[in-house]
Symmetry: C2
Subunit: 352 residues, 2 copies
C-alpha cells in the first residue's frame, strides 16, 4: 500500500495521509465522509495569507456547512459567498450574517423576502431588469451587478450601467460588480489560465467603470494567484480540495475523503461500499488510494483492481473528484484531528 499512497500523493501534490486515521475511523459505519482538520486549517491559513480578511469572500457552496464557515470566519473572513437562498438564510440563522452575497440570480419572491427578512446584511447578484425588479419587490436593499465575463450568468458591459441605474431608481444600493471567470478555473496550464482570467477581468473592469461602487468580486480557487483584479475572491474548493483541482498543483492539500469497506472480492477486482450516491460524479471517477485502477462506480459501490491483495472487511479510502456535489450528498462531515475523530459537523446548508 505504501507505493500506492506515494503515487497518489504525487498526483495530489498533497502531504501524507495521517497514519492511524484508519483506526479512528474503523469504529464508524461506511461509507463515511470525513475531513482532516489539520489539512483544513493549513489550507485556510495558506489562503488567508494571500487574501486576508474581507479580501476573501469564501464560497459556502463548496461545503454547505456552517461549522466550517465558522472556522473561516475565525480566520478573519466575515463576508461570504452563497449559491442559493437557502445557504444565505442558513448562514444568517447560524449567526454568520455579517455580509452575505447571493452570487446567483433569483426571481423567487418568497425566497427574496426570506433573505431580506433574515438577520443579516444580504446582497444579491442581478443581471437583468427582471432580477433587479424582483430583488426590489422582495425587499432586498443591496445588489451587485453580475457581469458575464465568459461563463454562465451576467449581463453585458453595455447593460451594466443602465441596470445599476434601474436598481438605484428602485431604492437599492449598488455595491459594485461581480464576474465569475468559471471557464478559467479548469485550465491546467497556468499561463493560459492567467490569459483567460485577464481577458475576463478586462470585461469586469469596463463594467465596473460604468457601475461604480466599492466591490469588485470574482475569482475562485483556480485563479487565486492569477486574478489580481478583484478586491474580493470568491474561493470555495481550497478548503478541502478534490482530485480535479489537484491537477493544477496548487499549494492546497486534499483533506476530504470517503472511507469505505471492501464487501466483495473477485479474482480480478474488489468491491467497496461507497458508490456514486456518496460521490460527486460530474468530474468523473474518484481516486481510491489502495487501487491500481478504478473499474466503475455504481449506486452504492466502487469496483476497482487493488494494488495489493485485499480481503472482505478491509477499509479503503476514496478521494472525490469534485468536492461541492460530494459534500451535498452527505448529512454530516466527520472531523479527524491527529488521528482521532474529534467532531461531527452537520452539512446543514444542503437542498434548496
Amino acid at each position: 500500500m505504501r507505493p500506492e499512497l506515494n503515487r497518489v500523493r504525487m498526483i495530489c501534490f498533497a502531504p501524507a495521509i495521517p497514519l492511524g486515521v484508519s483506526d479512528a475511523l474503523n469504529e464508524l459505519s461506511t461509507p463515511v465522509l470525513w475531513a482532516d482538520l489539520d489539512v483544513l486549517d493549513r489550507n485556510l491559513a495558506t489562503m488567508a495569507r494571500r487574501w486576508p480578511g474581507t479580501s476573501l469572500r469564501p464560497h459556502v457552496k463548496a461545503h454547505k456547512t456552517t461549522e466550517l464557515a465558522r472556522r473561516q470566519m475565525a480566520m478573519g473572513h466575515i463576508a461570504f459567498t452563497c449559491a442559493t437562498p437557502r445557504e444565505v438564510i442558513g448562514m444568517a440563522a447560524a449567526g454568520l450574517g455579517d455580509d452575505l452575497l447571493l452570487a446567483n440570480q433569483t426571481v423567487d419572491h418568497t425566497r427574496l423576502r426570506a433573505m431580506a427578512d433574515a438577520d443579516a446584511r444580504v446582497t444579491v447578484a442581478v443581471d437583468s431588469a427582471a432580477t433587479v425588479d424582483a430583488a426590489a419587490e422582495g425587499g432586498i436593499g443591496e445588489v451587485l451587478i453580475d457581469i458575464r465575463v465568459g461563463f454562465r450568468c451576467g449581463c453585458t458591459v453595455d447593460e451594466a450601467g443602465p441596470l445599476a441605474d434601474r436598481a438605484r431608481a428602485r431604492g437599492m444600493t449598488v455595491r459594485g460588480v461581480m464576474g465569475y471567470e468559471g471557464h478559467a478555473m479548469g485550465v491546467t496550464d497556468e499561463v493560459e489560465r492567467t490569459r483567460v482570467t485577464e481577458e475576463a477581468m478586462n470585461t469586469l473592469a469596463a463594467a465596473h467603470d460604468a457601475v461604480g461602487g466599492d466591490v469588485v468580486s470574482g475569482g475562485g480557487t483556480g485563479t487565486w494567484t492569477v486574478n489580481s483584479f478583484v478586491n474580493e475572491l470568491q474561493a470555495g474548493s481550497y478548503v478541502l480540495m478534490d482530485t480535479t483541482y489537484a491537477e493544477q498543483r496548487l499549494p492546497f492539500e486534499q483533506g476530504l475523503f470517503v472511507e469505505a469497506t471492501i464487501v466483495s472480492v473477485a479474482q480480478r477486482y474488489v468491491v467497496c461500499d461507497a458508490g456514486l450516491k456518496a460521490l460527486g460524479m460530474d468530474h468523473g471517477l474518484p481516486q481510491v488510494l489502495q487501487a491500481e485502477d478504478i473499474v466503475y462506480c455504481s449506486d452504492e459501490h466502487t469496483v476497482f483492481t487493488p494494488a495489493a491483495p485485499m480481503n472482505v472487511g478491509d477499509r479503503v479510502r476514496l478521494v472525490p473528484a469534485h468536492i461541492d456535489p460530494t459534500m451535498a450528498k452527505h448529512r454530516e462531515l466527520v472531523i479527524v484531528e491527529g488521528g482521532s475523530v474529534v467532531d461531527h459537523w452537520s452539512i446543514d446548508l444542503r437542498h434548496w
Copy 2:
C-alpha cells in the same frame, strides 16, 4: 415549444406531459422534483401484469421513498429489494417489512444487528465466508447466495454450494440464489440483451442446482421481458423511468421531472436554476423539454440553447438521465395528479 415536446416524447416513448401541470407547480420554489401520479400508476400496472404479486421484488433503491413502496405493495408486491441496511430498516419501520432482501453484502456488525432486530422478515445476500459469518454473528436468520453472473458482487458457481453449507452450518436458512445481470440492463439492442441475460441466467441456474432453495432472484427493468429464468424480478427504475432507460423503448413512461426557473438570459443561451446538485449526472446530462441543446450543468444551473425565445422567470422541465441518484439528492417528491399538486412524499430512505 410544441415541436420540441413532440421530439422529446418520441425519444422517450412516453405519453403527453399533462397539460396544466406547470400551473400547479408554479406556486412552488424551484428546483422541485416531482412525479406524475397517473404515469406512476400506469407503470405499476404494466409491470404487475407481467410480474404479479411476489414474482416482483421491487427495488427501493430507485426511489428510496416508503410512500412509493406503499403504492407498490398496494399492487400486491409485498416483498422488496433493498440496496442498503438503512433502506431495510426504514422499510421495516414504515410497516413494509413482510419480506425484505438486502441484495448487497455487508460485514457491518451494527447494521446487521439492527436489521436482525427490525420488525421484519430480513434476508441478506452473502457471497463469501466473511459475509456468511458476519450475517450469522449479526443474528440474521435467512440468506441468499449471491452469484456473480457477470457484474460486480457474487461468488462463483463452484463456491456457491460450500457457502450455502457454511450458512446452514451457522444455523441460517438458505432461501436460494440471486444474481444481478447488471451488465445486460444498458444493452440497447434487445436480441443482444436477451443473449447476455440468458448467458448470465445459465450461470445462476448452475449455482441454484448447487444451493437449492425456493428463491431465484435477479433481473431489472431492462430485462423485464427477456429474463424468463428468475422467479422474482428486482426491478426498480420502471416506476418513473429516466432518459437512459427510455432509449430501450420499454412500455414504461417517464414520470419524474425537475421543474426549474429561467434566471438569466444571454444572447445565445439561457440559464435555469437546477444543476448537477439536483440531478444524477453519472449517466450524463438531463434533457430539458424546452431546449434545443444542453450546453452544460454546473452546481446549481443548467445552461441550454432554447428551442424558442425564453424570458427570466419562465418555467422549464428537466428529465433526469438516471432516476436513482436523482431521487437520492432530494428531500421530497412532489406528487402531481390530474394537473394538481396532491401530495409531498418524503424521500425518507436516503443516506446510510
